[in-house]
Amino acid sequence: MSAQDASRVPMVQLLSPEGQYSVPAEYAEYGKYIDQLGEADFLKFYRDMARIRRFDNEATALQRQGQLGLWIPAIGQEAAQIGSGHGVGHNDHIFPSYREHGVALTHGIDLMSILKMLRGVNHGGWNPDETRFHLYGIVLGTQVLHATGYAMGVKFDGKVGSGNHDEDLAVISYFGDGATAEGDISESFLFAATTQAPIVFFCQNNQWAISSPVNSQTTVPLYQRGSGFGVPGIRIDGNDILASYAVTKKHMDDARNGAGPYMIEALTYRIGAHTSSDDPSKYRDQAEVDYWAARDPLIRFEKFLRRQGIGDDFFAECEAAGEALSAEIREKTFALGEPPIENMFKHVYSETHPLIEEQLAWLEAYEASFGEGGAH
């Protein structure tokens, strides 16, 4: 199935590639969520997408300059991430994969934390208890199991459908098309369905699992993957931020109110490499990349905003904000020192542990054996 063939599969699209907003009758329930948004919300959506795009480009450069061990670009997936991120409720918990920089932005994660992690000086650095945005799941698919377990706990605690706005919550887990081929995802579907846990499975189908195309992972559209387990699903145009927002918000609301699990497949495209260690030109055609580059989610939303009468001033303001962000993260990244070696041992156990302390003492003694400034 090439990307172009995907048009045969029903898909929620509220914004055409030309930036024309319209709600097909069968998706009227989603349109209601857009009706409640105002201009300030639309501008925020664009600002966030522009900011995370700029961040992504700067991080890519920093990796090429030896400042990051690795970079994981999310370019092309901004609408899927920013839209869905804003659709998550104030109590809800998010279990991301390792590419969800945009979702992180919508939940107040300091972007430097992400750079620090990919430089190898921390393990994420944010507190999931405070942000409700859990640490990046590096091992493919594991975060979906964690999310499902969390959602089951929420259900057991009775914090679903109680009508208490301050207590009820739902869980969303992000993963890619590649992860759907892992047993973890199937297990998650099964547990979520049998316990009717309040969870939304958000699959960003960016069509490439590193070098494996999505058609080597599945013979049916991915949004149907959960149905046999009892997890209904829907496909959305992942490059349409309004669809991403509305569909996520509706199904998070539903899950929170006790409707059980749901799957959203956001059809999008990974414009960049899998990571900075990958060279996609070895396995995919430039024509395919060009096709999707023309469907850039930022361009589409800019067209929409201009149709709404938003002018050059706003876009210039976003550009300036991007410049400032670039300069700021460059400066901060170059100023990052090496963390003290005890940090490596800090979070192995929650309390002090004699074996860990012995290892730390050994390493400190070993490092000290080089003498002062004796790193030559």
Binding site: E58, A61, Q63, R64, Q65, G66, Q67, L68, G69, L70, R119, G120, M152, F156, T194, T195, S276, S277, D278, D279, S281, K282, A327, R330, E331, F334, A335, L336, G337, E338, T352, P354, L355, E357, E358, A361, W362, E364, A365, Y366, A368, S369, F370, G371, G373, G374, A375, H376
Partner: protein, 462 residues
């Protein structure tokens, strides 16, 4: 003032050691901007364009197209403004001062007027990246030998005494509730009813091992209450017979002397019941609900009552009232003494409802809040003496009832299965009946029915 900054070849692909210069995009004298692409390189993995980390004027290209450059060696040098981000240091002296901390911060860039000095200095790679030959450039000084260093370091660690030789230390650890044990060991201890604070740890770091717990489990039944209270100074203590104690005494005497008791016992393999309990515990429906062998026993008795209704009746001299409902009594040891509250209409309950009712009954009894109504109109009773580590006993009937069952401890014992001795979870069921109402054959069938459910809980599906 300006200074010269170097951009050294970074490891762009997780563990690369070198790259070939494919094409230069700039030449000496060119002005470059931050992130402007200056060179295309080919690594073992891919073709990569490198963006310039600083703005300035290119002074020198440190290699020709086709040359292979090692990671960490200069690629270009450029004249940059003082303090430019990416150029890091403002040191412009001819001989660079190599400060490892500042260097770490600069990662792959360094500043110096003297390129050679930079090349020879340490170029730290990010952790886990770059060539391992950097390690070779680190030379250890004649400092403390590692063994001595570790010993010295260890001396400052909290000392965990070998508890086998130092009882005092064990006690102090126990007092602080600082038992060291891995989660599976803690679970094992919990399952076996072993108090971790009473186990002597033999692990090398003072942790409790699996063997310690297993050893503790064998002793637990004997030394369940290790602390021996002080002998009272008075020669006697007189406790007035009143309240609950008086009621218990009257009930026991009345029961024992009005109803001719007959007791029977049967040993039973409860392995499947234990497995069933384990499965129920793990099921989501029973999450948060206490599941014990007592629950299965209760279900077994209710099932057996249906087949042998006479054991669930009352003797009134004029007539025998056979109850077609089960008010299921559970003998409970409380701080105020023995009481027997019952679960009304227990026969109408699902397994889950019964489990919750038992849990609730126990909680209310523990708090001393059992009401007289809770204890009225019982029809049959169980007494769970197994929790006290006792195999069995002859229970005395709760007055007004004609049947009571005692559930003994369940523990691994040799058991003959298919003519072979196997280790099975074995228990003894003891039961007492009012012989005025219940004949020997009914009593035996009832106990056999209960035993067969304990042996095969699937019978409950009947």
């Amino acid at each position: 003032m300006s200074q010269i900054a170097f951009f050294n070849l970074p490891d762009v692909g997780e563990g690369l050691t070198e790259a070939e210069i494919v094409s230069w995009k700039v030449k000496p004298g060119d002005t470059v901007a931050v992130n402007q692409v200056i060179v295309e390189i080919e690594t073992a993995k891919s073709l990569v364009e490198l963006p310039c980390p600083f703005a300035g004027v290119i002074q020198e290209l440190h290699g020709a197209e086709g040359d292979t450059i090692e990671v960490g060696k200069p690629l270009i040098s450029a004249v940059v403004a003082d303090g430019a981000v990416g150029a890091v240091s403002t040191n412009t002296s001819a001989i660079p001062v190599v400060d490892p901390v500042a260097e770490a911060a600069s990662a792959h860039t360094a500043v110096a007027d003297n390129a050679a000095a930079v090349v020879e200095s340490r170029q730290p790679n990010l952790v886990g990246y770059g060539s391992s030959n950097h390690a070779g450039s680190r030379r250890r000084g004649p400092v403390t030998a590692p063994a001595a260093a570790v010993a010295a370091a260890s001396a400052s660690l909290p000392v965990v005494a070998n508890p086998a030789t130092s009882l005092v230390n064990v006690v102090s650890v126990t007092a602080e509730d600082k038992v060291i044990a891995k989660p599976p060991i803690r679970k094992l201890a919990k399952d076996l009813g072993v108090d971790l604070t009473r186990v002597t740890p033999t692990g090398f770091a003072g942790e409790v091992t699996r063997e310690d717990v297993l050893g503790g489990a064998q002793q637990a039944s004997v030394f369940r209450n290790l602390s021996t209270p002080e002998a009272p100074s008075a020669r006697e203590e007189r406790i007035p017979v009143k309240g609950v104690r008086k009621a218990i005494a009257n009930a026991m005497v009345s029961s024992a002397f009005t109803a001719p008791h007959v007791s029977i016992f049967v040993d039973v393999d409860a392995t499947r019941t234990m497995e069933y309990v384990k499965r129920l515990k793990a099921s989501t429906d029973f999450a948060g609900v206490k599941v014990t062998p007592l629950l299965i026993m209760a279900k077994a008795m209710i099932w057996a009552v249906r087949r042998n209704p006479m054991v669930n009746s009352t003797w009134t001299d004029e007539e025998i009232i056979v109850h077609n409902f089960v008010n299921f009594g559970i003998a409970a040891a409380t701080p105020r003494g023995l009481i027997v509250p019952n679960i009304k209409d227990a026969d109408k309950m699902s397994m889950l409802e019964l489990a919750k009712a038992i849990e609730n009954l126990a909680a209310v009894a523990r708090e001393g809040k059992t009401t007289p109504a809770d204890m009225k109109d019982g029809t049959i009773t169980i007494t769970n003496i197994g929790v006290f580590g006792v195999d069995t006993g002859t229970p005395i009937l709760n007055p007004g009832e004609v049947g009571i069952v005692a559930l003994g401890s369940i523990r691994p014992k040799p058991w003959v299965v298919n003519n072979e001795i196997q280790v099975r979870q074995v228990t003894t069921i003891g039961a007492t009946f009012d012989h005025r109402v219940v004949d020997g054959d009914v009593a035996s069938r009832f106990v056999q029915d209960v035993a067969s459910v304990i042996e095969e809980p699937a019978l409950l599906l009947d």
